[in-house]
């Protein structure tokens, strides 16, 4: 059976892009044999003879003498009479390199090899998601442990200016940020050259607001399967919760906590609160027991500065702060956070009220900034809102004391030797026993209690 085959001008290994047909040795109708010279072509000022690859009959010459032909272009069609040949995968002539019309005749002799193959300029389609980081370990088993593919986050567009600001952070810090879902670009770095440190990230995670990147899941309750009665439910520990846990652990197992309790008759405070609410300065403001507790604590701190300090293990020093960044524990949707009011000690009462209000609002709304969440020096936590009296609060890391106050409720009290019903609440002061001894702690607690029992004392001591 006959088959029409076309012989394409090959690259004879000279890195050839084209050649001139010099002379045909055959014409249509001629019988040709495998290996028989059929044409002379000119390359690099040398003439090369090309043999026919088949036995057959010349059907047509596809190029004329004197014509310049590109490599890969058919130059002759031969009717091939081979009975046995299945279509053999023959080696295609290597694709031509870019040739331009103003080429010298032919290319140059390469002396070796098949010549240069053109390379692909587009990517081959891949089945699996790319971007698997290779494991550092060397597997000895035949199986290579393949890490789950981590798809790249959206590639940043190459806009001018967007790429100009580089975030600086060590690899472990970057990983931490990624795990916590923190976008580094939103943080200010406290490390060398403005690089972002592990602490910066952890503090940011404590706030865990608006600084999160799109595709992280933080501390939210993820019910991984339908709740089965009597079954189990798993809640992911991520984000704020994870940080909160870490902070608690860090604090609890670093500072020796001692908690002292004092039940206080706050009837006078509650009365004073009512009168303060009516003052024009407090017209739009929320006035709650927290305001008075805060003010009392601030004054107690002024009287007992050591309670407002931190333990610097590296320097082996206690750092006493002569300013108070008052932290208030806030139950945000995603967990407990402790934003603080900077320099609360220098604030007049209305200002303090305003600060507390703003703080709790933004905190609850999840809008506390990293700045809000760092730099606190002492903390108040209101456990009364949960309907309990007292607790053994855990210090905010980096601080020396935390004051919890419980619910204000009617309580039987001895007044002037007589049983009476008074408004009472319990104060719980935890402190770091490395810095604060029982005497100091008690003094602070007593001071706060005294002021809450008789608010006029705040005038005397403040």
């Amino acid at each position: 059976m006959a088959e029409l085959k076309e012989f394409k001008l090959p690259d004879v290994g000279e890195g050839l892009t084209e050649a001139d047909i010099v002379a045909w040795h055959v014409k249509p109708g001629d019988h040709v044999e495998d290996g028989q010279i059929i044409v002379e072509i000119e390359t690099a000022k040398a003439v090369v003879e090309l043999p026919c690859p088949w036995d057959g009959t010349v059907a047509r010459l596809l190029a004329e003498e004197g014509q310049t032909v590109d490599v890969g272009v058919p130059i002759i069609a031969v009717e091939v009479e081979t009975p046995n040949s299945a279509e053999r995968p023959s080696v295609p002539a290597p694709a031509p390199a870019e040739s331009t019309p103003d080429d010298e005749a032919g290319a140059h002799s390469v002396l070796v090899g098949y010549g240069v193959k053109t390379s692909a300029t587009t990517r081959r389609a891949r089945r699996t998601a790319a971007g698997r980081p290779e494991t550092a370990e060397v597997p000895t088993a035949p199986e290579v442990p393949i890490e789950p593919p981590e798809l790249a986050t959206e590639p940043r567009a190459a806009e001018p200016g967007v790429a100009a600001v580089r975030v600086l952070a060590k690899p472990p810090v970057r990983k931490l940020a990624k795990d916590l879902g923190i976008t580094l670009a939103a943080l200010a770095g406290s490390g060398p050259d403005g690089s972002i440190t592990r602490d910066d990230v952890q503090r940011a995670a404590a706030a865990d607001t608006g600084v999160r990147s799109a595709d992280s899941g933080n501390g939210s309750r993820t019910v991984t399967s339908a709740t089965v009665p009597g079954g189990e439910e798993r809640i992911g520990v991520r984000g704020v919760r994870k940080h909160m846990a870490a902070a608690m652990v860090s604090s609890a197992f670093t500072a020796p906590h001692v908690t002292e309790f004092l039940q206080v008759d706050v009837t006078e405070t509650m009365a004073a609160l009512r009168r303060v609410r009516e003052l024009p300065e407090f017209a739009e403001l929320r006035v709650s027991p927290l305001l008075f507790v805060a003010r009392a604590l601030l004054i107690a701190v002024a009287r007992n500065p050591l309670i407002n300090s931190s333990w610097d293990a590296a320097a082996e020093e206690i750092v006493v702060k002569h300013y108070v960044n008052l932290g208030i524990a806030v139950a945000a949707e995603r967990g407990l956070i402790v934003p603080n009011i900077k320099h609360a000690d220098a604030m007049a009462l209305p200002e303090l009220a305003r600060g507390l209000q703003a703080l709790t609002e933004t905190g609850r709304a999840g809008k506390a900034t990293p700045a809000d969440l760092t730099g606190g020096t002492i903390t108040i936590t209101n456990v009364g809102v949960f309907g309990v009296d007292a607790g053994t609060p855990i210090l905010t890391p980096g601080e020396t004391a935390i004051l919890a106050f419980g619910q204000v409720k009617d309580t039987p009290w001895v007044v002037d030797g007589q049983l009476a019903v008074r408004k009472a609440c319990t104060l719980s002061l935890s402190f770091d026993h490395r810095i604060v001894d029982g005497e100091l702690g008690s003094a602070v607690l007593r001071d706060v209690g005294s002021m809450l029992q008789d608010p006029v004392r705040m005038l005397a001591w403040g």
Partner: protein, 327 residues
Amino acid sequence: MTKLTLSRGINEGLRKALENDPKVLIMGEDVGKLGGVFRVTDALQKDFGEARVIDTPLAESGIVGTAIGLALRGYRPVCEIQFDGFVFPAVDQIVSQLAKMRYRSRGQVSLPVVIRIPCGGGIGAVEHHSESPEVLFAHTAGLRVVACSDAADAFTMIQQSISSDDPVIFFEPKRRYWDKAEVDTAAGVAGALPFDQARVVLDGADVTLLCYGPLVRTCLESAAAAREDGRSVEVIDLRSLSPLDMDTITASVRKTGRCVVAHEAPVFAGLGAEIAARVTERCFYHLEAPVLRVGGFATPYPPSRLEEHYLPDLDRILDAVDRSFGY
């Protein structure tokens, strides 16, 4: 401006050097009458004579050794080693003598010898014709090692290498010999980029892709394909392998935060390893991912029917870019 092949670009540069300085000589196997197996020295013997363009006996060690002697006598020899895989008989002269003479003589002796070596694979050749031995020379103090990637650079870099008072190993990517580029053959080299500096050949924002010699074109093609993926790749042609232009590299990686190095030579103990170490040191806080390297495997160069698997191509390079973004 004329469009020249890389081979011709070097040829024109050699011609200029021969014209400008009577002490410049060209020597090697088949460089004279034949004009070189890649025609890089085409017509130079015809125009400058047999005393200056020398067909040498078949001995690489002899070529370099006698070149050293000529240099001691005040000449500026430009040697050709016909193929990368044949440089090894000359390595003793290069490493023990050429590289060390200035140091040995405490500056009394200068050996301004250039050794031109066509290098790299991708031409479907038999053994010893596709090697990338650059790191051997980069690791040898006293040698400058450069690699051109296009005709314009080749034209200036060969002249700069010849003018240098240091011995220069000049790598020419043989599979790119026929690639064309615009070359201003009338321009002097005074204004050209110094041959010890890298060049940002394509600006980008997302990742720095470092390469030299034959892979510069591959990396540019890769960057173009990456644009389809929405990635902006900055491609830098290192040009000088020793010394390395760390300033250009560092500035780029500090901008992009990611770095991939590509070379045909094996990854293991290749030039990419040195670059990765230095980039990591200088850009530690800027790095979003470790510096990744793409290159040949830890095997001898394979038979030519397998070389497409060995040589880094567009897909392999972009795979590394993807992996970088996977961190």
